[in-house]
């Protein structure tokens, strides 16, 4: 399926042009009224989608690299459940009204901080014993059930009005991102990405599996630990920003493997990011102008990502 004749950089350039095209289309389609308002309004949305696309694509590719498995996603480590637990806890203790009117920056910092802290702790603890990655992932899933049970417990105890507010908060929305949050999230994601840059070549070795990586001189435990922190930061920030859209990562990561004629992370990662931007911005454009807003983008992505997963499994691509 891959086209070996094309240089990876050329493929990246094509993807970049496509991504820019999607953004341009999203910014300019069906504009009525003042341009400066529309560009500012839509610009913030695009900014949010670019951030989220970047975070999810990078975290999924990294996760699949360290697990040497192309059907697993960070969602399996219980991230979305943890996010829902944090949201539910806020509604539970503050009430729906207070939750809806709380300063978004404070809420964001609480969400993201709690998620980075808890997920890193969880990773660190699980990774301390030299367990197999399958065991870790399965344990992550069970932790997810634990978090979800607690969230469910609290959802049962709140009144239906609060539940509606909670439901809105738990499904991704690209229309309610605060501009101030974007700056904070951008800084955090940029810092995490910068941490990743010197690791790129080691990631290529890591993708070979644990034993080959160790025999090639990579400090496996330390590198995986650092990568996991980056993943935790990326997923936490994106989830806190727009809600759980983690199946999406499976989609873009596998598309990136399919399209790129190389396995080097220096090319795969940007390709996945660009594909993420194309899918999110393009998807939102279609959603707003074809379906007229009536379904949350996250649910459509879950649906499509699920079908892709089944397709991958049936084709035997799962390794």
């Amino acid at each position: 399926m891959a086209r070996p004749s094309l240089h990876p950089a050329l493929v990246l350039a094509i993807l970049a042009i496509l991504a820019l095209g999607c953004i341009a289309l999203f910014m300019t389609i069906n504009v009525r009224g003042a341009w400066d308002f529309v560009l500012g309004f839509r610009g913030r949305k695009v900014w949010g989608m670019v951030l989220v696309g970047h975070a999810i694509a990078v975290s999924t590719v990294l996760f699949q690299t360290i697990t040497s498995n192309r059907i697993l996603t960070p969602a399996l480590m219980g991230f979305d459940s943890l996010y829902q637990l944090i949201q539910t806890t806020l509604v539970f203790f503050l009430g729906g009204l207070a939750f809806a009117t709380i300063d978004p920056q404070v809420r964001f910092l609480v969400d993201a901080g709690a998620m980075v802290l808890l997920s890193t702790l969880l990773f660190r603890w699980l990774f301390s014993g030299g367990r197999s990655l399958y065991l870790l992932v399965l344990a992550g899933i069970v932790f997810g059930v634990l978090f979800r049970s607690l969230a469910n417990l609290m959802q049962r105890l709140i009144n239906p009005n609060d539940f509606v507010i909670l439901q809105d908060a738990m499904f991704a929305s690209f229309n309610a991102i605060e501009p101030t949050l974007l700056v904070v999230a951008s800084v955090v994601i940029a810092a995490a990405s910068a941490l990743l840059l010197p690791l790129l070549s080691r990631l290529d070795v890591l993708a070979l599996g644990r034993e080959p990586a160790i025999s090639l001189g990579v400090d496996h435990k330390r590198t995986v630990g650092m990568v996991l922190v980056v993943i935790a930061v990326m997923v936490s920030v994106s989830t806190a920003l727009v809600g759980p859209v983690l199946f999406f990562g499976l989609l873009v990561a596998n598309l990136a493997y399919l399209i790129m004629p190389t396995y080097r992370h220096a090319y795969i990662l940007p390709a996945a990011v660009l594909l993420g931007i194309i899918a999110l911005v393009g998807g939102q454009t279609v959603l707003e102008h074809v379906f007229g807003f009536n379904t949350a983008l996250a649910i459509i992505i879950e649906f499509a990502g699920g079908l892709v997963f089944l397709f991958l499994l049936l084709r035997g691509a799962a390794r």
Partner: protein
């Protein structure tokens, strides 16, 4: 053998004691004194007969049936970490109930259950096909594939429920809760009890089938038929329990694992134990859920979600060097 029977009798007595406690917990006063001092037409006796007894029976039946269903799946798939909740069975049943609620809301409960069972069977069959198609590098890959499949089916269900504003209703099936059980609302569970009995009678066949297709055929059994029987039992039991009470996470996983870590893998011997321990665990968790925030109730799915996932984590993480 007789020592085993004696222990079994003690365990059964303990479950009966739990059932007795379950009968007398609740907002309405149903103490022995109130029962004796009032006539059978009065409130205490009516509450006991219409609400408490059905609920306690439902708890016992569901606990037994789901635990044994989990054991059958583990035998047939030859994997310790498989149960209806980690094979897409529960999620498929939920999808079936959602669709039948949308398309034929007037259908009687039995019909809904049959639709849910058909979906559960289809989902489980899909899971088995996936297992056959995917090269598995680790035993832990099997529950992972099952959970991913369940996630996909769950996403479809959520997608439909969100479109039709049924998310909160969906919560009622995905989270086990026995507080709505009344006389006339639980009798389907007797069907699950019958199926559990069939499983007990056919226990040796499942043990043999667990040894693999070639071995089974060598011993003169029809492997596909045994497989179909086992999966049908699992699907029916799951559908019945999900329709009447909602799913109880990891029940079918942890009970057989705990019992087999003591008893070994002889199904005929361990099924009674699994049934009793399952009933006891469900009763105990329901009682806890009723006491914690008295007079309000916490659904058993939540209580068991916390307890069950904690035990599952312990099962997973205690033998770190054996897996993997």
């Amino acid at each position: 053998m007789s020592a085993n029977a004696l222990k079994l009798a003690f365990a059964a007595l303990a479950v009966l004691a739990l059932a007795g406690i379950s009968l007398f917990i609740g907002v309405s006063d149903v103490s022995l004194g109130a029962l004796l001092s009032s006539s059978p037409e009065d409130k205490p006796m009516q509450v006991l007969l219409i609400s408490r007894v059905p609920r306690t029976l439902a708890l016992i039946l569901a606990g037994m049936a789901m635990s044994v269903a989990g054991l059958i799946m583990q035998m047939l798939v030859r994997n310790r970490f498989v149960e209806p909740g980690t094979a897409g069975t529960v999620e498929s049943a939920g999808l079936g109930i959602l669709l039948v609620t949308l398309l034929a809301p007037g259908m009687p409960l039995f019909g809904k259950m049959l639709v849910a069972a058909a979906f559960a069977l289809a989902g489980t069959a899909l899971f088995m096909r996936l297992l056959a198609a995917v090269p598995l590098r680790s035993v832990l890959m099997v529950p992972l594939v099952g959970i991913m499949l369940g996630g996909v089916i769950g996403a479809v269900t959520t997608f439909i429920a969100y479109r039709f504003d049924l998310l909160q209703t969906l919560g009622a099936w995905t989270l086990g809760d026995f507080s709505g059980i009344l006389r006339g609302r639980y009798e389907l569970l007797w069907l699950a009890a019958v199926l559990t009995l069939i499983a007990y009678v056919a226990a040796d066949r499942f043990t043999v089938a667990g040894l693999g297709q070639d071995f089974t055929t060598n011993l003169g059994l029809n492997y596909r038929r045994v497989l179909a029987l086992g999966l049908s039992i699992v699907a029916m039991v799951t559908a019945v329990v999900v329709v009447t009470a909602g799913s109880i996470p990891f029940l079918g996983l942890i009970v057989p694992n705990l019992v087999s870590s003591v008893m070994g893998d002889n199904m005929r011997r361990s099924i009674p134990w699994i049934a009793i321990v399952g009933a006891g665990a469900v009763l105990a968790c329901d009682i806890v859920g009723r006491i914690i925030r008295f007079p309000y109730e916490i659904p058993i799915g939540t209580v068991f979600g916390v307890v069950g996932s904690a035990i599952f984590l312990w099962l997973l993480l205690r033998r770190r060097n054996q897996l993997g």
